[in-house]
């Protein structure tokens, strides 16, 4: 399916366009990008996977992001039957207690990737079966991949 057809299809799933904020862009990226509100994330992801026309069954990359003001996650999805790709982004402005819904029931691989994001960005995932630090020790202070993280001893700043 082409990016344009994908965009039209996903827009058609939303009964009330005002209630759900979706933003499509193709600028500055080779993929079609969708930005979705945290509340709509789980529903949209379930639909992207289960709808036979989209059938995004392969989550090939899950990236934690710190955009400066917002924290969030970028999901790269591919369909192994249709071979089309899409990028879904979700952002939250809450830096104190950022919380998103887990997608690890939809794609099993997300369980590990979300733990990595929790480890480095401190984003919590609702309903995650085993949310704890993956690489760092439990007593580690702070979340190293955040842009405002400071470690004067171990970090070399140029």
């Amino acid at each position: 399916m082409t990016n344009e057809a994908l965009q039209n299809l996903i827009s058609s799933w939303i009964p009330d366009p005002i209630a759900i904020e979706l933003e499509f862009t193709e600028e500055k990226s080779q993929f079609l990008n969708i930005t979705v509100q945290p509340e709509q994330l789980h529903q949209l992801m379930t639909q992207l996977k289960s709808n036979p026309d989209t059938n995004f069954d392969y989550l090939f990359c899950l990236t934690g992001m710190d955009w400066g003001k917002e924290l969030g996650v970028v999901y790269h999805l591919e369909s192994t039957t249709h071979r089309h790709q899409i990028v879904v982004k979700v952002k939250t402005e809450d830096r104190e207690n950022p919380t998103l819904d887990t997608v690890c029931k939809i794609w099993y691989t997300a369980e590990f990737h979300e733990r990595e994001v929790f480890d480095f960005f401190g984003i919590k995932f609702n309903n995650h079966p085993n949310l704890k630090r993956l690489f760092l020790t439990e007593e580690w202070d702070g979340f190293p991949l955040r842009k405002d993280y400071v470690d004067e001893i171990n970090m070399v700043i140029k």
Binding site: K28, C61, D66, T80, E111, L145
Partner: protein, 372 residues
């Protein structure tokens, strides 16, 4: 009498450590096993023993410097890791890469794949108790390492790629020695089958354990030989062709069993395909420059770039978010080993500890690739 014995020996679960210094984990990986007798109830990997935070280091380094860090992820696919970063940067800059560069990169990538698979074959035999394979595998890999040493100047972390092309041109002996290797390896690969693949003891040990279905393989993000052994067509070289892979014909090896032996077979057959790819290219290396000119300071235009390549272990993804400066704003490596490890618990539960060792051997984990 029977009942007394059963009552006296109650079944109970307990936990033991496998690693971080266990010979079968091939690196500092610790598995926390919950077992009942010898039956595995749960496998929980404990990571981070060799975590260097390469993604954070990338945010302060220039794009030329980043290439060198990627060697240290999956050190057995170091050339392909370098290539992934270079391709991302080149695509972002929309650089025209000389055909010569593409062909040389592809040949060396396939040699890297063979070198990685021979090492895997050697240590996998060792894991299941066949020490001879270790020496056979290393004997053949040594020839490839010598070719690399002559052309790239290093045997393992080659750093032969730079954004825009190659560090220097190939050595005059490169073509000759590569052909010698192909002729040599074609006589040795059947020996691998004689020694191990058709060995009845080995097959009894490998068949029917660690079964991964196609649906689970996709859901767990399995890639490389692990995915293909479950019938999941996931070869990046076929589906998202890069470098010179569109100029050659090769088969994607698919097996449907999904067990440990299928993963073993996929890798053995892949070595034949890699040989065929090299043979098609080695006499047809185009003349010309071995690099395209880039600025000394590389600044990527603002935007997001993603490139995937097929390493010896599966799909490596490089995701760069650039704000237009000389460093990436965010750099993410989607490493194949990380996703392949995440399915270990799923396929090992219900088996025995000996089966876990065999299963892990065919997942072909490289721990620095997982920890990054």
């Amino acid at each position: 009498m029977d009942t007394t014995i059963t009552n006296n020996f109650k079944s109970e679960e307990y936990q033991i450590n496998m690693g971080p210094q266990h010979p079968a984990t091939h690196g500092v990986l610790r598995l926390l096993l919950t077992i009942d007798g010898e039956i595995i109830k749960r496998v929980e990997p404990d990571l981070g023993y060799i975590h260097r935070s390469i993604e954070k280091m990338c945010e302060r380094d220039s794009y030329q410097q980043i290439v060198h860090l990627t060697d240290r992820m999956d050190y057995l696919s170091s050339h392909i890791n370098n290539e992934a970063v270079c391709l991302t940067v080149e695509n972002a800059l929309q650089l025209e890469i000389p055909e010569r560069v593409k062909v040389i990169r592809t040949i060396i990538a396939e040699l890297t794949r063979i070198a990685s698979h021979t090492l895997w074959w050697g240590v996998m035999g060792m894991d299941v108790g066949a020490l001879t394979t270790y020496f056979y595998g290393f004997r053949d890999r040594e020839m490839i390492n010598d070719i690399f040493e002559e052309t790239c100047g290093a045997r393992l972390t080659m750093n032969y790629n730079i954004p825009g092309g190659l560090m220097f041109d190939i050595h005059p002996n490169f073509v000759k020695r590569t052909k010698e290797f192909i002729a040599h390896f074609k006589t040795k690969l059947p020996e691998y089958d004689l020694l191990l693949s058709n060995n009845i003891i080995f097959r009894k040990r490998m068949e029917g354990i660690g079964i991964l279905t196609k649906e689970d393989a996709i859901s767990f993000g399995a890639s490389g030989p692990v995915g293909r052994a479950s019938g999941y067509s996931c070869d990046v070289r076929k589906h998202h062709s890069y470098s010179a892979y569109d100029k050659v014909t090769f088969n994607e090896i698919l097996k449907t069993e999904g067990d440990t032996y299928a993963r073993y077979q996929v890798r053995i057959l892949e070595m034949w395909e890699s040989l065929s790819i090299i043979e098609q290219l080695i006499d047809n290396i185009p003349e010309g420059e071995f690099f395209a000119k880039t600025n000394t300071v590389i600044k990527l235009p603002e935007g997001e770039y993603y490139q995937k390549v097929e390493t010896a272990r599966g799909e490596l993804g490089v995701y760069i978010v650039s704000t237009g400066t000389k460093n990436p704003y965010r750099m993410k490596f989607r490493s194949p080993g990380f996703s392949n490890l995440s399915l270990l618990n799923h396929i090992a539960v219900g088996g025995k500890i000996g089966d876990l060792v065999a299963t892990m051997a065919t997942l072909d984990l490289v721990i620095p690739d997982i920890d990054r």
